[in-house]
Amino acid sequence: MAVAVGAGHRIDFRHNAVMDPLRDPAPLFAALAGVLPPDGLLTAPEQLGPWECDGLSLYRQRPLAVALPETASQVQAVLRLCHGAGVPVIARGAGTGLAGGALPRDDALLLSLARLKRILRIDPVARVAVVEPGVRNAAISEAAAPHGLYYAPDPSSQIACSIGGNVAENSGGVHCLKYGLTVHNVLGVRGFLADGTPVRIGGEVPEDAGLDLLALLTGSEGLLAVITEVTVRLLPRPRHAQVVMAAFASVDAAGDAVAGIIGAGIIPAGLEMMDALATRAVEDFVHAGYPLDAAAILLAESDGTAEEVADEIARIESVCRRFGATSLVTSQNEAQRLQLWAGRKAAFPAVGRITPDYYCMDGTIPKKHLSAVLRRIGELSKQHGLACANVFHAGDGNLHPLIFYDANQPGDVERAEAFGLDILRACVAVGGTITGEHGVGVEKLDAMCVQFSTDELAAFHAVKHAFDPAGLLNPGKAVPTLHRCAEVGAMHVHHGALPHPELPRF
C-alpha cells in the first residue's frame, strides 16, 4: 500500500516484511490489545459502524480498528506499534468536526482520545487550566466558573467538542473578534510525534524559546503530532453582557453598520448577521422575535463591567440608527439576551427543518466585500439551482452559507459541492480564505488548490515530512497532493506567473 504524500514522493508502508498488517492485522491487533485497556480496542465490523464518519457525514469509511486509550503512555505505545507496523493513525476527538478531518481510512487505526478526559489542574491565580485532550470545551469553563474564570473560545459545538479537537482545528466561535481563536488561548501542549517521541511545546509562558511551534501545531488537523495534554489560558468572566438586535432593509445597510461599529472604535464581544432566508427559518423555529420583513439582521453584543456595557451599547445603538436600522431591540435582562441569541444559535437546525439536507460552507472575506460576495452567492444559487441561506460572523468576516439540497435527488450532492467550491473561489477572489474555522479535512482539499501555489503546497508537504517522515499521521488530509490539484485544474496562478511549467502533470 502506498500513499502519495507530496510531489511524487511515495512511501511504502510494507517496509516491515515480517508483518503485513493489512493482509493479516491479527498480530498488530494482539499487540495493540496488550497495551490498551480491556475494552480499548474495537476491531469487529459491528463495533466499527459508529466510527465511520465525523461531523461531515457526507463522507463515510470504516476504520481498520479503533483504539480507545485512557492515558498518555497508552497513546505512546499505540503510536510506537503502528509506526513499527507502518500503519497510519488518525486521531479523533469528539468527532464533531465539519470538514472530515477525522474521517477514517480502511487501512488506518482510528485513535480516539475521548477517554483522556481528566482536568489535571486549574490554577486560579495563574489563570490556566491543564487538561487532557478529551475534555469537552464547555467542561473547562464549568470547572473554572467557581473562580470567576472561563475558557473564551466557544465553537457552536462547545457542549460536545473536545479541547484536543479544538487545538487540532484551531476552532473559533462567536466571540473571536474580541477574545481570539484557539491559537490565542492555548499556552502549551504535550504529546507525541508519529513514532512515539514525546514532545512538549510551550508551557505556562506567553512565548516559547526558539520558533513558535505551538502556532504551527495548532490547526494542523492531526497531521503533525498527537497531543495528550493542553494548557489553556483562562479569562475573568465578564460581569455583564447585553445584546442589540438591529434589522435592516438591505444587506448593504447591515454591512455598512458593521463597518460603522468597528470604525467607531468598538470591538463587540459578538457581531453576527443573518440574511432574510436564515432569519425566517429561525423565527419559524424558535420565535426569537426577529422581524420577518428585514433583509438582514445584526446581533451585536457588549460585555464587561456594567459601566462599560452601558456605554458601549448606547454607542452601538446610535451607529445602527445612523445606518438606517428599521428596528432595534436591546436586551433588558439575561432572559431576553439569551432569547435574542437563541435564534442565531439555532440557525443550523432551523435551516435543517426546511431542507432535507444542507451543506455548511466556511469562507472568510474582508468585510468590505460582503455585499459583493452575497450578490455572487445569489447568482451562483440560481446557476446551480439550489437555495442558500447566509449566516455570518460579521465582526471577523467569517461567512457560513448553508446550501440547501436533497441527498435523495440524483446529482444534488455533486451540485451542492460544486456550488460550495464556487463560493470558496469567490472568497479567495476578494482576498479571503477557503476556511475560517472548520478546517480543510477532506472536504476542502480541492479548494486548497485555489488558494495556494504549488510552492506553498510543497512547503506544507515538506513541513508534514519534517514532523512525520513516514507520513503516518492522518495522511491525505488538510493538504492536497500536487497531482490532485493538477487534476482539479484549478491550480492557483500566483503573482501573475504560470505555475511551474517544469512540473510534470500526471
Binding site: 511545546i201 475573568p236 519534517a466
Partner: protein, 375 residues
C-alpha cells in the same frame, strides 16, 4: 500611503539566489535598531529599507498590510491618524522597521492582556532560502487553510525566510487610560497583579520596579473610572499622566524605568520569560507582563561568559538559564551582553524539529546567520 516600490523584491530575490548559489549567508537589516539583540550575526547584511510602504489599510477592517522595510514610526503614525494601533506595543526604537519588529517578535506591556506579535499577525509574504515567494495566512482574522506558517515568523529572527509583506489585526486606541501605583515587594506584586488580572477589570499593563507595583487601565472612560474607584479603595494611587506615559514607554522600549539610563550598557541584563506566578528571581530589576517577563541583573548571578560552542546545546547553559528552565520558562542574555553567543536551549526533540524546518525553508543555509541562536 507610500508609493509602490515592488522592484525592490527583484533585488532581494537576486541577493538570495546569489547567496544560495555561492554558499553565502545573509542577515536582513532594516534600520539596525536591534543590532545589539539576538545572536551575533554572521554573513552579509541585506538592506530591506527599500522595500517599504503601506500596501492596504482599511480602518473598518481593523487590518493593515505593510511591506517589511516600512519604518515602524510611519506605520504607527498612519494608524494613530485613524484612532487605531498595533495591539502589542512593539519597542519602537528610532529606525525600527515593521520587518524587524516581526522578526524579533518583541512586544511591550500590553502583551499580557491582548497578545504579542504572533497573535496580531494575520499573514506573511516571504522569500525562502531558494528565493521562492511564499504567502501564508492572509488579511482576515479567521483563517485555518493550510499549516500556520505565518505566526511562527514572529520571533524567528528571519531564520525561515526574508519577510516581504506582513498583515496585522489592529485595535482601536482606548478612549481613556489611567495608571495606578502601590508600593510593595516583588513577591507581593506578583501575587497581587495576578489576582487582579483574574477580575474583570480593563487592565492593559501590570508591572513592578523600584519597590512599587504599577497597573494600567485602558478602555471606555466610564469603565476605566469605575475600575479606578474600586482600586482606590484598595490603596492604589493615581500616577499623573506624564509620568505614566514615560513609564510605559520605557518598559516598552526596554529602558528600564527607575534606573539610571547611563548604566544600562554597563550592567548586563537577562530577559526571563516565566509563568506569571513564578517566584521572584534574585537580582530582579523589573517585572512586566503581570509577572511573566523579568529583567534580571547579571551581577546577582556571576559574570555570564559564553560557555561552549554555539552548536552544542544543553551543556552550554548559564545558571540563569537553568534556573529559568526549572521555573518553567527560559532566559536570554540581553542587549550587547557578553554572553550573547549563548545558544537557545532546546530539548533534543524540538531541536530536531527546528533543524528540519530550517531545511524545509532554507536548504542552503542562506539565513543561518546566528541571530536565532539555534544552529
Amino acid at each position: 500611503m507610500t508609493e509602490t516600490r515592488e522592484p525592490a523584491v527583484a533585488r532581494l530575490r537576486d541577493a538570495v539566489l546569489a547567496a544560495a548559489a555561492s554558499g553565502g549567508v545573509l542577515h536582513a537589516r532594516g534600520g539596525g535598531s536591534k543590532d545589539g539583540l539576538g545572536g551575533t550575526p554572521r554573513g552579509e547584511p541585506l538592506a530591506t529599507l527599500e522595500h517599504a510602504g503601506i500596501v492596504d489599510y482599511d480602518p473598518a477592517e481593523l487590518v493593515v498590510t505593510v511591506r517589511a522595510g516600512t519604518p515602524l514610526a510611519e506605520l504607527q503614525a498612519e494608524l494613530a491618524a485613524h484612532g487605531q494601533m498595533l495591539p502589542f506595543e512593539p519597542p519602537d526604537w528610532p529606525g525600527a522597521t515593521v520587518g524587524g519588529m516581526v522578526a524579533c517578535g518583541l512586544a511591550g506591556p500590553r502583551r499580557a492582556f491582548v497578545g504579542g506579535v504572533r497573535d496580531a499577525l494575520l499573514g506573511v509574504r516571504l522569500l525562502d532560502g531558494q528565493a521562492r515567494v511564499l504567502q501564508f495566512g492572509g488579511r482576515v482574522m479567521k483563517n485555518v487553510a493550510g499549516f500556520d506558517l505565518f505566526r511562527p515568523q514572529a520571533g524567528a529572527w528571519g531564520r525561515l525566510g526574508l519577510l516581504l509583506e506582513l498583515s496585522f489585526r489592529l485595535l482601536p486606541q482606548p478612549q481613556a487610560e489611567r495608571t495606578l501605583a502601590l508600593p510593595m515587594a516583588a513577591e507581593a506584586a506578583i501575587e497581587q497583579l495576578n489576582r487582579l488580572a483574574g477580575q474583570p477589570l480593563p487592565m492593559s499593563g501590570a508591572a513592578w520596579f523600584d519597590g512599587q507595583a504599577l497597573l494600567r487601565l485602558s478602555g471606555s472612560a466610564v469603565g476605566v473610572d469605575a475600575a479606578c474607584r474600586q482600586l482606590a479603595g484598595e490603596g492604589w494611587d493615581a500616577v499623573d499622566a506624564v509620568t505614566a506615559t514615560a513609564i510605559w514607554q520605557a518598559l516598552r522600549r526596554q529602558e528600564l524605568p527607575g534606573a539610571d539610563r547611563s548604566d544600562k550598557a554597563a550592567v548586563p541584563l537577562w530577559r526571563l520569560v516565566l509563568p506569571g506566578t513564578a517566584e521572584p528571581v534574585p537580582g530582579t530589576r523589573c517585572i512586566d507582563w503581570c509577572g511573566a517577563l523579568r529583567w534580571i541583573d547579571d551581577a546577582a548571578h556571576g559574570q555570564g561568559r559564553p560557555a561552549g560552542a554555539a552548536t552544542s546545546v544543553g551543556a552550554s547553559t548559564h545558571p540563569l538559564q537553568r534556573l529559568a528552565a526549572s521555573l518553567g520558562g527560559h532566559a536570554t542574555p540581553w542587549r550587547d551582553h557578553p554572553a550573547r553567543a549563548l545558544t537557545v536551549s532546546l530539548d533534543p526533540a524540538r531541536l530536531l524539529l527546528h533543524r528540519r524546518l530550517f531545511e524545509v525553508f532554507d536548504p542552503h543555509g542562506v539565513f543561518a546567520n546566528g541571530r536565532l541562536g539555534i544552529a
